[in-house]
């Protein structure tokens, strides 16, 4: 049976335009769901890998150093490092997911399906970010938290800090995904920027034990404030003023979201 024969059985297409005007909310929802679908299709990379690596860090550092370092700031060492490790896993997962998703969409050019659609640039930006944020954020918290057994002293603060952290790194992932020409660029940012700054951001220690000038230099590390905000949510204690930690994290998150928005709005690097 030919296509023309087959179509005779379908309602008349085209000219009638049977559907009402495009619903922008539906457009964004479709993009969010598509991103979630990608995350779940690649669950071994997007969800399992960060959970396993965090569990290994907790196991190795907890066992090897936990017996030698009794307490930091009044907390057992294996409890102290958990918030930072979860923050690190969230940051890396959010960044890697969004960056690789955009890069693949650009390389294979199926992003054109989104760019040509009646979806406002801000919804595209938000759609790409939310897809990663929702799936990775929820998955890591649901899977990782029960495994650690660490108490949550300030759940509202924790939710706020985690949200800011994931939004920030999702937006950074969008920006890098738009600028990157290859996976080398994506890996470069992850391995040369995010990972070292996270390790030096007080994940495994309190910066109060550092000598000068390292303690002062740590205050210039943006990831230190994010780790500290997350730790405050878990343990109710932090190295710096909690308002400063939240404020700084929020400021960087807003800057990253604005950068990503500018790219979608102008089409720079997305469209030749």
């Amino acid at each position: 049976m030919s296509a023309a024969d087959r179509t005779a059985a379908t309602p008349p297409p085209a000219a009638a335009q049977r559907y009402p005007g495009p619903d922008p909310a539906r457009s964004m929802r479709a993009l969010v769901l598509r991103e979630c679908r990608r995350v779940t299709r690649l669950w071994t990379q997007t969800i399992l890998a960060p959970v396993v690596s965090s569990a290994l860090f907790i196991l190795v550092f907890g066992l090897s150093l936990g017996s030698r370092i009794k307490e930091i700031n009044g907390f057992d060492y294996d409890v102290f490092i958990v918030p930072g490790l979860i923050a690190m896993a969230m940051a890396q997962a959010a960044f890697s997911n969004n960056s690789s998703s955009l890069l693949q969409a650009r390389n294979d050019r199926y992003i054109n399906d989104v760019l040509a659609s009646p979806m406002q640039p801000w919804r595209m930006n938000l759609g790409y970010m939310l897809g990663g944020v929702l799936t990775i954020g929820v998955s890591l918290v649901v899977i990782a938290l029960p495994l650690t057994g660490v108490p949550i002293e300030r759940p509202i603060h924790l939710i706020g800090a985690a949200l800011l952290l994931v939004v920030l790194f999702s937006a950074l992932g969008v920006v890098v995904g738009i600028y990157a020409q290859s996976f080398d660029h994506h890996s470069f940012i992850n391995n040369i920027l995010i990972l070292p700054l996270t390790f030096l951001g007080g994940v495994f220690y309190s910066i109060e034990i550092l000598p000068s000038p390292w303690q002062e230099l740590s205050h210039a590390n943006p990831i230190f404030y994010m780790v500290d905000a997350i730790r405050y949510g878990f343990l109710g204690a932090s190295d710096v003023n909690v308002g400063l930690a939240f404020g700084f994290t929020a400021l960087v998150a807003v800057a990253m979201v604005a950068w990503a928005q500018w790219l979608f709005q102008t089409g720079r690097k997305l469209k030749p």
Binding site: A3, T10, S27
Partner: protein
């Protein structure tokens, strides 16, 4: 609201200069009446795909204006009215055939129910039922081409843009596709087609424009073009018009490479 009398496409002074200085379009003017089967012919690098990408918001134009059924091409109204099947298959490798269609419907603001129903229709029309739950990366070239067309038509656009839709497609599928596109056209859809198969363009298109070096160099019905250039086939017209402007095209190609 779309009026019958409004041209499907109105392009005035459209120009595009790429970042490397290559001129893709050079003050191009073009009107495509609503409901027409319109052919855009020209050699590689002449500006066909640049023109199509400009209409579909896939490149940043340097100047000029594009209206789709009277709406500025960047508006949400205009975008909804256009469906494009690009030259190379650009399918989301993480989705199945059905998901590709349903998510496309979502991007274009369709409800879940409408997108599902329409995806089913397109799956049947393009004989994709057996592959509906297969990831797009596993499809053959012909199946990918079918899916591209199904996706372009899913949201029932009034202007369908087909950029070399039968390139690399076997004769049977090509025949099927043209029959369906003809049917769409009979039902009122405006078709803008680019193809290197000149006999196809001659038999399908009511109006043809020849593009070279980013400008329209001739435009008329196939019969009138043949009469004007004293040719018996469209191929002869093509060779006459394009050969006169070929040095310009080659210079542009060289500059680009």
């Amino acid at each position: 609201m779309v009026r019958e009398s409004t041209p499907a496409l109105t392009i005035a002074g459209l120009s595009k200069t790429y970042d490397d200085g290559t001129v893709g379009l050079d003050g191009l003017d073009l009107d495509v009446p609503a409901g027409e089967f319109f052919g855009l012919l020209g050699p590689n690098g002449a500006g066909k795909t640049t023109l199509i990408n400009s209409v579909c918001n896939l490149i940043r134009t340097s100047g000029g204006r594009i209206d789709v059924f009277g709406f500025g091409h960047e508006t949400m109204e205009a975008r909804r009215l256009v469906g494009v099947a690009e030259q190379d298959p650009n399918l989301d490798r993480f989705l199945t055939v059905r998901e590709s269609l349903v998510y496309h419907g979502g991007y274009f603001g369709m409800s879940n129910g409408d997108a599902d129903r329409r995806a089913d229709e397109m799956i049947d029309v393009f004989d994709l039922r057996a592959k509906a739950d297969v990831r797009t990366s596993k499809l053959s070239g012909g199946m990918k081409r079918r899916l591209l067309l199904a996706r372009a038509l899913l949201h029932e656009p009034l202007l369908v843009i087909l950029d070399e839709p039968t390139a690399g497609v076997d004769i049977e599928l090509r025949h099927d596709l043209w029959n369906y596109i003809r049917l769409l056209h009979e039902q009122g859809t405006t078709i803008l087609l680019t193809t290197h198969y000149l006999e196809e363009a001659e038999s399908l298109c009511e109006d043809i424009a020849l593009i070279s070096a980013g400008r329209i160099i001739a435009r008329d019905t196939p019969a009138e073009l043949k009469r004007r250039y004293d040719a018996t086939t469209l191929e002869e017209v093509y060779l006459q018009t394009v050969s006169t402007s070929l040095p310009t095209v080659m210079a542009a190609e060289e500059e680009r490479s």
